[in-house]
C-alpha cells in the first residue's frame, strides 16, 4: 500500500515533465507522419509510416535518459534529498517506486501513446490524403521484444543513475564504453596467451598450424551463445537492480552535490 502511495507521489510530482515529454512525442509523430503522407500524396511516391522506426529511439534513448536522471534530485541534490530520505517508507520501496516507473510504466505508457498518436495521425491523414490507414500496432511481437531489450538496457542506466552523483547519462555511456574496451583487450590478451602456438608475431595467426574442426567449433559457439544469452537476459538486469538498490539504501547527505 505504501508503495502505491509512493508511486502516486512520484507520478504526481513528475506529471509536468511527463506531460511535456508526452506532448513532444505526440507532436513529433503527428507532424512527421502527416507531412510524410501529404508529401507522398503530392509527389505520387509511396508513403512509408515511421512509427516502428521511431519507437526504438524514444524507447531506448528516451528511457535511458529518463532513468539516468530520475534519481538525481532525490539522491544527489542538496535541496531535494532531505524530503525523500525522510519520507516514511523503506529504501526498497523508494527504489522500487522509481525503478518501476522507468522500467514498466514508461514503456507501457509509450506504447499507448504511440498507439493513440498513430491512430489520430492516420485518421487525419486518411481524411486529407485518402491514403491507407496503417497505425502502430501495440500487439506487434517486435514491439514487445524491444521492450524486453529495454529492460536490460534500462537496468544499466538505472545503475548509472544511482551510482554517479552527476552527469549520470554521459558517465554511464563512458563507463560502459570503457568497460567494453577493457574487456575486449582482456579477451584479446587471454586469447593470445592461450592460443600462443597459433600466432606468429604479436597477433598474426599462423594458418599452417590451424586445423579447423567445424563440428567442435559449432558446438563451442553454441555454448558461448548460451552463456551470452544467460548473461544478457538473466544476469545483467538483476545485478544492476540489486546494486542500484544497495546504492539507494546507503545514500547519505554527503552524496548530495548539486
Amino acid at each position: 500500500m505504501r508503495l502505491l502511495h509512493l508511486l502516486n507521489k512520484e507520478i504526481h510530482e513528475s506529471r509536468k515533465a511527463f506531460g511535456t515529454y508526452g506532448i513532444t512525442i505526440f507532436l513529433v509523430l503527428f507532424v512527421i507522419n502527416l507531412v510524410g503522407a501529404i508529401v507522398a500524396k503530392a509527389t505520387g511516391s509511396i508513403n512509408v509510416e515511421n512509427y516502428y522506426g521511431m519507437f526504438p529511439g524514444f524507447l531506448m534513448l528516451g528511457g535511458a535518459i529518463m532513468t539516468s536522471i530520475f534519481f538525481s534530485d532525490d539522491m544527489f541534490s542538496k535541496k531535494g534529498q532531505h524530503a525523500w530520505l525522510m519520507t516514511p517508507a523503506s529504501s526498497l520501496e523508494k527504489f522500487l517506486s522509481k525503478a518501476v516507473i522507468n522500467a514498466f510504466v514508461y514503456p507501457i505508457a509509450l506504447i499507448l501513446l504511440f498507439t493513440a498518436a498513430s491512430a489520430f495521425t492516420e485518421l487525419i491523414a486518411l481524411a486529407i490524403t485518402g491514403d491507407k490507414f496503417i497505425m502502430f500496432n501495440p500487439f506487434n511481437g517486435s514491439v514487445w521484444t524491444l521492450v524486453l531489450h529495454f529492460l536490460v538496457v534500462q537496468s544499466i542506466f538505472l545503475l548509472g543513475g544511482t551510482y554517479f552523483r552527476s552527469v549520470h547519462f554521459i558517465k554511464t555511456i563512458l563507463a560502459v564504453g570503457s568497460l567494453s574496451i577493457l574487456f575486449a583487450i582482456f579477451v584479446a590478451l587471454v586469447s593470445r596467451i592461450v592460443f600462443a602456438p597459433y600466432f606468429t608475431g604479436f597477433f598474426t595467426p599462423n594458418f599452417d598450424s590451424i586445423t579447423v574442426n567445424f563440428q567442435a567449433f559449432e558446438s563451442n559457439m553454441r555454448i558461448f551463445s548460451i552463456i551470452g544469452k544467460i548473461f544478457y537476459w538473466a544476469l545483467i538486469a538483476p545485478f544492476c537492480w540489486y546494486v542500484s538498490y544497495l546504492r539507494v539504501k546507503e545514500v547519505q547527505s554527503t552524496d548530495a552535490v548539486q
Binding site: K79, P88, A89, S91
Partner: protein
C-alpha cells in the same frame, strides 16, 4: 529516546565530531545551540539517519538510524533550514503526504495553518521561505510525530511569526513529544527551549535543564567589570557587563540569559563540565 555514544564523524579529512556522547530524553523542547559550523545540522542528520557516523553507536527512538526503518521515519518530522516544496497546491501536498503519517490530525493542521495565515490554494513553490516554513511546520506539528526536529526554524520568519512560532510550538508540546530545535539565534528561542544542548569543538560541552543552571549560576547585568572569584564569565553588553557567577548559598535566583550562557560555555567549557553529565537531563526515558 536518543542515545549517541563515542560518535566520530568527519567530512573528508575535516573531523567534525570525535568521541561525541549525547543522550536526549523524551518530553521536552531541547534547544541545540552552537556556533556556525559547529555541526548542529550534521548532528541532526546523524540522529535522523541522513548521515552515518564513522564510529560509535547511536539509537533514535530505539532504532538504528542508519537503517532508516519505516517505523522510525514515521515517528520523526524534520523541518530543514532550507528546502524546496513541489510545484503543487497545499491541498495536493496534503493528499500525497498524509498517508505516510498515520497520526496526522487534519483539524489541528487547519488550526496551525490559520494561525500562520497560509492559503492552501497557493502554489507551494511560489511561497516565500517563511511561508514555506510555516506550511511545513503546520504539517509537521499536525503529523503528531513523537520526535520533531527543527533546524533553524525561525530563519526566514518575520517578527510576528517568530512569536507565533513560539506560541504554537509550546501549544503543540505534549509529554509524549520531543522537540529538538537547532538555532544560533538564541533570543528567538528564549522561554521555549529547555533543556539546552551546546555543541562546541566537536563535543557536546553542555547538556542541562535551565533549572539546574539557575540553581548553580546567577546572571546579572553589572555597571562595571566584576573581579569576584565567583565570576565564571563576563562580557561587555549594552548597558554594562553581563556576569555569570556561581550562585552562593541564600543568593536569589536569576533568570537565565541564554546568550550569556552560550558565550560562557563556549569560552570556558571546563567550568561547565558538570553539565555534560547525562543525569543532568530532566524528563522521562
Amino acid at each position: 529516546m536518543i542515545r549517541m555514544h563515542d560518535i566520530a564523524f568527519s567530512y573528508g579529512k575535516r573531523s567534525l565530531f570525535t568521541h561525541l556522547d549525547l543522550e536526549i530524553t523524551k518530553g521536552s523542547i531541547h534547544g541545540l545551540l552552537g556556533m556556525n559550523g559547529a555541526g548542529k545540522t550534521t548532528l541532526l542528520k546523524l540522529i535522523s539517519g541522513q548521515l552515518f557516523a564513522q564510529h560509535g553507536t547511536s539509537t533514535t527512538l530505539g532504532f538504528d538510524p542508519t537503517k532508516r526503518n519505516v517505523e522510525m521515519l514515521r515517528q520523526i518530522f524534520y523541518l530543514p533550514e532550507e528546502f524546496p516544496l513541489p510545484r503543487m497546491h497545499g491541498e495536493e501536498y496534503l493528499k500525497l503526504n498524509i498517508p505516510f503519517y498515520p497520526l496526522f490530525d487534519k483539524q489541528a493542521f487547519n488550526e496551525y495553518r490559520e494561525a500562520f495565515d497560509i492559503d492552501l490554494k497557493m502554489n507551494l513553490n511560489e511561497l516565500s521561505l517563511g511561508q514555506k516554513k510555516k506550511f511545513l511546520l503546520s504539517f509537521g506539528l499536525a503529523s503528531k510525530t513523537p520526535l520533531m526536529i527543527l533546524d533553524e526554524p525561525t530563519n526566514g520568519l518575520d517578527i510576528p511569526s517568530k512569536s507565533q512560532f513560539r506560541r504554537i510550538v509550546a501549544s503543540a508540546m505534549t509529554e509524549d513529544r520531543t522537540f529538538i530545535i537547532s538555532t544560533h539565534q538564541v533570543r528567538d528561542m528564549e522561554n521555549l527551549i529547555d533543556p539546552i544542548i551546546i555543541l562546541h569543538n566537536g563535543q557536546v560541552v553542555f547538556n542541562s535543564t535551565l533549572e539546574h543552571v539557575c540553581n548553580t549560576f546567577t546572571f546579572t547585568l553589572e555597571r562595571t567589570e566584576q573581579s569576584s572569584s565567583s565570576i565564571v564569565f563576563q562580557e561587555k553588553v549594552p548597558g554594562g557587563y553581563m556576569a555569570v557567577a556561581f550562585r552562593e548559598d541564600g543568593e536569589e535566583e536569576t533568570s537565565v540569559d541564554l546568550e550569556s550562557l552560550f558565550n560562557a560555555v563556549v569560552t570556558k567549557p571546563a567550568a561547565f563540565s558538570q553539565f555534560v553529565a547525562k543525569s543532568a537531563i530532566g524528563g522521562a526515558q
